[in-house]
């Protein structure tokens, strides 16, 4: 869902970050060049390169398509607890034991080449996902049966409630009459996409491409007529272009975010807490992890000794927010946060006394240099961070200072993204700063399944994706598996006991040390267009790279007009 890391990666490309930031803050002149129409929205997705034509909504390198050109059946809003909204589907229903999913489709929808959309297209798409391993990122194994032109039934061998958001919400439907002739859809760039979505591709150039409103869209032609995607060299160029009024929507860091709206006339900024920042630890000695962090007491001590308030202001421009040690988002998932947790949210101020008590209780003794040690082994660990990710680097440096006071030594080790990823996946690390990304719907289940289930991990030396901590706890595994058997639509009462079990366990074991929830910050031109998501009307996750959320925003925008 989140392409957090994508824009982060863009950041490494920015050269002379601080200096350009200073320049950007001080400039005000007119834009030199690009002509702008009042009904053309200009967006920058954070990609630090020229566009390579690719409108295949299932390709990892698609540049656009999912949501805007191709539509899924339903829209699952990841930003707040909404009911799924119907797009190409109008309703869906599970049978009693969760093995049969009946979907009703919208009638009267046409593909942009004039052919009618029907159940055969849906069945074709689902079959294609099942049979194309490269597309089947969620292990879909259901069989699809067309009942009539507007009804489809998907059958599973085991309860598959938790597959629904991915299948219904993140799997754009493609036209059978075109795609059935494509030999290998995984390597086709779909240069001229035919879809049912609100927008159509109208022009492609490596430095910019444009999509335009679909006059025959089933919900009526969108008021926003054109969207131009421009290529810039990274976040710094993005911030500069924003300052000059050359782009209307971007998601990424900008200098001096606190005064953004005062410095940028007509623009607004929105910050949505979504990615949970953690110090990932290689926690499981049974799977080959080594180092002081394999002792839960050390992880707990670090958890209590961090001064999150200082961290937030020094590293994150105060855009981060409180995190829950049970890893349910304190805001969006408030109802899921367990009452059994010792701390509902991690304290924003440090508690050195408690950190020391935990370490001393576990048999650690402070040495002459002030660092705790046990059996001659010092509590000294290296923490991995990607070179160039300035906010994370500031964060680990700050923590390293804070933890020294609590008798824990961190050695900051910066290396390239490739190297950090490699170390993290293969388990050759002690600590690494990273974030846990959310799943396909507003349900903490997905974070648990991906990051805490032993099925998602491997012994050190093999690539574990994404349970980097090598966490394995049979109680947690069982609770996650039980959750998959329950229909989320039946209400929370039946599910909450399992959430309580998971959260209590992971708070105790703490394989990922919770830091804070990172804010995803987007800036948009509210003078030129109205209808943007706001804190009170968060109808989609407002990140321009978040598909299909971006299409909901596009469909909702209205040119202010002149």
């Amino acid at each position: 869902m989140s392409l957090h890391a994508r824009w982060r990666r863009g950041r490494t490309a920015a050269i002379g970050t601080v200096t350009i930031g200073l320049l950007a803050a001080g400039c005000g002149g007119s834009s030199g060049g690009s002509s702008t129409d009042p009904d053309t929205l200009i967006v920058y997705t954070g990609l630090a390169d020229d566009w390579q034509r690719n409108y295949n909504p299932y390709s990892p390198e698609e540049i656009e398509g999912n949501g805007s050109i191709f539509e899924p059946l339903f829209f699952f809003n990841n930003a707040r607890q909404d009911d799924p909204a119907g797009l190409l589907g109008t309703e869906y229903e599970w049978n009693e034991d969760g093995t049969e999913l009946s979907i009703t489709l919208r009638e009267g929808v046409e593909w942009s080449d004039g052919e009618a959309f029907d159940a055969e297209d849906v069945a074709f798409t689902f079959d294609m996902i099942r049979e194309t391993p490269a597309f089947n990122s969620f292990g879909f194994d259901g069989t699809t049966e067309v009942v009539d032109a507007s009804h489809v039934v998907v059958s599973f061998d085991v309860p598959a409630y938790m597959d629904a958001p991915q299948l219904l919400g993140k799997s754009p439907i493609v036209p059978e009459h075109i795609w059935s002739g494509i030999e290998s859809p995984e390597t086709d760039i779909i240069a001229d996409p035919v879809g049912t979505g609100p927008f159509l591709l109208s022009d492609f150039k490596p430095q910019a491409f444009t999509i335009s409103s679909n006059p025959n869209y089933w919900d009526g032609e969108p008021e926003l007529k054109n969207i131009r995607y421009v290529a810039l060299s990274g976040n710094q160029a993005g911030a500069d272009a924003l300052a000059a009024g050359e782009i209307d929507w971007q998601t990424g860091p900008v200098p001096d975010i606190a005064n953004f709206e005062a410095n940028h006339d007509g623009y607004k900024s929105i910050t949505i807490p979504m990615n949970q920042m953690v110090l990932a630890t290689c926690a499981n000695p049974d799977l080959g992890c080594e180092g002081p962090q394999t002792d839960p007491a050390v992880r707990q001590a670090i958890f209590h000794a961090i001064d999150r308030e200082t961290l937030n202001s020094l590293a994150f421009q105060d855009t981060a927010s409180e995190i829950s040690p049970g890893f349910a988002l304190p805001d969006r998932d408030a109802a899921y946060v367990s009452a059994d947790l010792e701390n509902r949210t991690a304290a924003m101020t440090p508690d050195f006394a408690q950190a020391e008590e935990i370490l001393e209780g576990a048999g650690y003794v402070r040495g002459g240099d002030g660092i705790y040690a046990k059996d001659g082994v010092k509590v000294e660990m290296s923490v991995r961070v990607v070179a160039g990710w300035t906010d994370y680097i500031t964060a680990v440096n700050t923590m390293s200072e804070q933890l020294t006071e609590a008798g824990i030594k961190l050695n900051v080790s910066q290396s390239s993204w490739n190297e950090v990823t490699d170390a993290r996946n293969s388990g050759n690390f002690e600590l690494a700063i990273d974030s846990l990304y959310p799943g396909a719907s507003p349900d903490p289940y997905y974070v648990y399944y991906q990051f805490f289930h032993s099925q998602s991990t491997k012994p050190v030396g093999e690539s574990a994706n994404p349970n980097w901590a090598r966490y394995a706890n049979p109680e947690v595994d069982a609770a996650i598996e039980e959750l998959a058997q329950l229909n989320p639509d039946d209400g929370q009462d039946a599910r909450q006991p399992y959430y309580d079990t998971i959260q209590a366990n992971i708070e105790q074991d703490m394989p990922y040390i919770p830091l804070m929830v990172g804010g995803t910050t987007s800036q948009f031109n509210s003078g030129k267009f109205s209808g943007w998501p706001t804190d009170v009307n968060l109808y989609a996750f407002p990140a321009v790279w978040s598909r299909p959320d971006q299409a909901r925003v596009f469909a909702n925008l209205k040119p202010a007009g002149e």
Partner: protein, 329 residues
């Protein structure tokens, strides 16, 4: 003739060595392209099971546990057929397409800027060297200071002054993205408008080196006896300056120019970053960040061949300009 045959032989061996290094160096880097690609897929929400991984390994064609030697020979074979493989950072685009899309822009911008800076530097250097000790000498420290300023800083200052504050030039891109691409006046003039400022920054920051080198060679050439002879014969000063002094003084600069011409294709990563200019430098940066071996190899190949070719041409040319190099003892 033996001189040329020997040169060609030497370049063939150099090419082979470069190709071999080109194969092994990316493989010594940490990370792998499959992980980079899967990382992107994963962040969209989804489990990446072993099947997905296998399927991408097959699609990307590498990393299948094949012995390195086999990979090496199939790499050489593919090169001979002109196949560079799939660029994983732009999957499923072909490396040749990715390079083709950006190479012309880089050659256009950096090539013209390099040529301009060489010509200007050499001409100015000739004049300054000829009139050594005059006020013109102050050009030397002035231009070398500009060369010594870190390039990104200079470029940013230029952007601030000429693009942001004065608004004379556009800030981003290689052309006006609202126009349609094509060989029409409107588009071409937007290309020139967008390229001027980046080219200017390259010229300003590199001219000092040429000027200084040329000026110093001129000064030492002028003290040669044949200049004195020429003056004694009563030749015109302008003729002595160009035909006698400059022709001899320019030789080292020509060699340097050959090398910098070769590097034109590698682009100027920083220029492209600062100006969001389409070009091969930013592709290279992306390739490195995404462990995209195929694209890296493709770009290195183009750079290597360009550097070798430029050197070969100059080597051959050198034989013409300076007959002494052809003589064997």
């Amino acid at each position: 003739m033996r001189y040329y045959a020997r040169k060609l032989g030497f370049y063939l061996v150099a090419l082979w060595a470069a190709l071999t290094l080109n194969f092994f160096i990316p493989r010594m880097m940490p990370g792998n392209p499959v992980d980079a690609l899967l990382g992107k897929l994963q962040q969209r929400g989804g489990q990446v099971g072993p099947e997905v991984r296998e399927s991408y390994e097959v699609l990307l064609g590498g990393n299948s546990g094949e012995p390195l030697w086999n990979q090496y020979f199939s790499y050489l074979g593919n090169l001979a057929r002109g196949e560079l493989g799939i660029a994983t950072s732009a999957f499923p685009a072909q490396v040749t397409d990715v390079i083709g899309q950006s190479l012309l822009w880089t050659i256009g911008l950096v090539g013209i800027a390099t040529l301009l800076s060489f010509v200007l530097g050499v001409v100015l250097g000739t004049v300054v060297g000829w009139k050594r000790g005059s006020r013109l000498d102050s050009l030397v420290p002035a231009t070398t200071v500009l060369s010594a300023v870190p390039y990104f800083w200079l470029a940013l200052i230029f952007v601030l002054i000429f693009a942001t504050n004065l608004g004379w030039f556009p800030r981003h891109h290689g052309y006006d993205v609202a126009l349609s691409t094509g060989w029409n006046f409107e588009f071409i003039s937007s290309v020139i408008e967008h390229g001027t400022l980046p080219a200017l920054t390259i010229v300003v920051s590199s001219i000092g080196g040429w000027l200084l080198g040329m000026r110093n060679m001129m000064v030492s050439t002028i003290s040669e006896d044949y200049i004195l002879t020429a003056q004694a014969k009563g030749l015109r000063n302008s003729r002595i300056m160009t035909r006698y002094a400059a022709r001899n003084a320019v030789l080292p600069s020509v060699a340097g120019f050959a090398i910098s011409l070769g590097f034109v294709v590698s682009g100027s990563i920083i220029t492209e970053q600062v100006f969001s200019y389409p070009g091969i430098g930013s592709q290279l940066l992306q390739a490195v960040q995404n462990s995209d071996y195929a694209l890296m190899q493709g770009i290195f190949l183009v750079i290597t061949v360009a550097v070798l070719a430029a050197n070969l041409v100059v080597d051959l040319l050198y034989g013409v300009i300076d007959p002494r190099t052809r003589v064997e003892n």
